[in-house]
Amino acid sequence: MNLRRPRLFPATGLIAVLAVLAVGSRLWGNTLVEGALTEALLYLVLVVGLSIFVGNSGVVSFGHIGFAAIGAYASAWQTCCTGFRGVFMPGLPTFLLELDMPVVTAALLAGLLAALVAAVVGIAIMRLGGIAISIALLSLLFIVKSVYENWDSVTAGQSSLVGLPLYVDLWVALAWAAGAIVVAQIYQRSAFGLKLRAVRDDEAAARACGVTPWIQRLIAFVLSAFVAGVGGALYGHYLGTLAVSIFWLDMTFVTIAMLVLGGMRSLTGAVVGTLAVTATREILRSLERGVDLGTLHWQAPQGSQEIVLALILLGILVFRPEGLVGDRELGVRKAV
């Protein structure tokens, strides 16, 4: 990484590109494209959150979507279904039932709750070695799902929760994605980020430099859970309804695919991967709905979306294991 470049590069460059895409899609006036871009930006919050931990620690996490679920419900507890909150979620404490929290504050508090959970479980999990951490984090996803599905009185877990304020549009998504990118950038360039990447490359040598590996992993884990929690909260307010099953293996697979496809260790990679996977999914989705070729109507079989995505990911892993952009960042000459 070249330290002579402007302080907030590539974050500023990436945000500029995303802003241009957003303005472009609005001017074009194609609602399908605008919707896809909004969703991509929301996924980007999740993927950037994931990359803060995965990119710097080198440990793949299958558990971060659990933090998205925690964030989504935490925001619902504060903002959902005015007047009916107690009907849907009778188990909520009184102070939550009467709360009328501004949505932005609610999203930040939702992220904080996810970060708090990460801090508590992280104290144990981050002491494990690489692959054991990945497995423990997958278990964490299962635990969150079981708890939220069965904690019916505060999650309406057996059915869906409806009536979340629908405030997330293209611009809101863009603003939060930009915020996530800036947070990730600041962390990456901090002494904490450097220390964690050193741990990733050689744990013993990092210890010889006075670094305690699990503490560095924990710091990144908590920060990334915060961003993922905010991402989950936003996603809920984009859909307007919540079900625990939204935050499950599909979303885990898609977010990891986005990160790996673009390049695990680079912020530019997270953006490229998220946009590329979203575009691919949208195209496949419309093929599943069917296309008219003159007189011919052709429809891709249901499920092609998942299969094609999996094949693309497989191809990338085989032929370009570093992802589309590798370690490179936008506008930065690659160090060799």
Partner: protein
């Protein structure tokens, strides 16, 4: 008592095998001590003990007057003990400057300050021309220098070098000798040098400590050890 890093009757056993047995070693600050011995003698194990990577089964590790055999590597690093590794162990995906920066960060502070300290260490070790390259992309001899730069950026009081000249040809060895000789004065630190090449040892060290099968065979000033019959028999005679 002068400042020193030392062991007192240290013992380490691996599944019954005594890798170290009652070893007393003293590394005074400001001196270069050579640690010699055939492969498997226990040299790396002793460096591991001194740097907190290996907890001894018996004996003490003393930093000045503090007993530190229970301290981990992080704690010894913060107290001024730096080391290199026989297998180098660089941060391959970080640049050379960032590797050295990691050393400087041992005492906390900002990255800006750490970078300034790192630059000094890089200049001292003659690595300016590769400062922005990824450490993993360097040729072997340069990798070893980066390991030394990273350790020096810690501004250690004691530096442990585990076979820094391994795999280097003669010209590179000469450069390295010149570099190591400048360390005690420039950094006010003691250097423990593990090295098989006798000309490197003779050109750098004031005193020697010879291990064989985990035991101290001889220790003292170079001339004294060099003429010790046990050492000549067991080790130097063959070299």
């Amino acid at each position: 008592m002068p400042e020193a890093l030392s062991t007192r009757a240290v013992g380490v056993r691996f599944q019954g095998l005594a890798a170290l047995d009652r070893v007393d070693l003293t590394l005074p600050r400001g001196e270069i001590v050579g640690l010699l011995g055939p492969n498997g003698a226990g040299k790396t194990t002793l460096v591991n003990v001194l740097s907190g990577f290996q907890r001894p089964d018996a004996g003490q590790v003393l930093l000045d007057d503090h007993s530190l055999e229970r301290a981990g590597p992080e704690s010894l690093a913060r107290r001024g003990v730096a080391r290199t590794f026989q297998s180098v162990r660089l941060f391959d995906r970080l640049t050379v400057t960032e590797n050295a920066e990691m050393g400087a960060l041992v005492h906390g502070g900002s990255r800006t300050r750490a970078r300034a300290v790192a630059r000094q260490a890089i200049a001292f070790t003659g690595l300016e021309s590769v400062a922005d390259r990824l450490a993993g992309s360097l040729p072997y001899a340069l990798e070893r220098r980066v390991g030394i730069a990273r350790a020096l950026a810690q501004h250690p009081r004691f530096l442990l070098l585990d076979e820094p000249a391994a795999g280097m040809h003669d010209a590179e060895c000469l450069d390295l000798v010149a570099l190591i000789r400048r360390i005690p004065d420039a950094f006010e630190c003691g250097v423990l040098l593990i090295e098989h090449n006798m000309s490197v040892v003779m050109a750098t060290c004031a005193s020697l400590h010879v291990l064989a099968s985990g035991r101290t065979l001889a220790t003292g000033p170079v001339d004294h050890v060099r003429n010790d019959p046990a050492v000549i028999d067991a080790y130097l005679g063959a070299a």
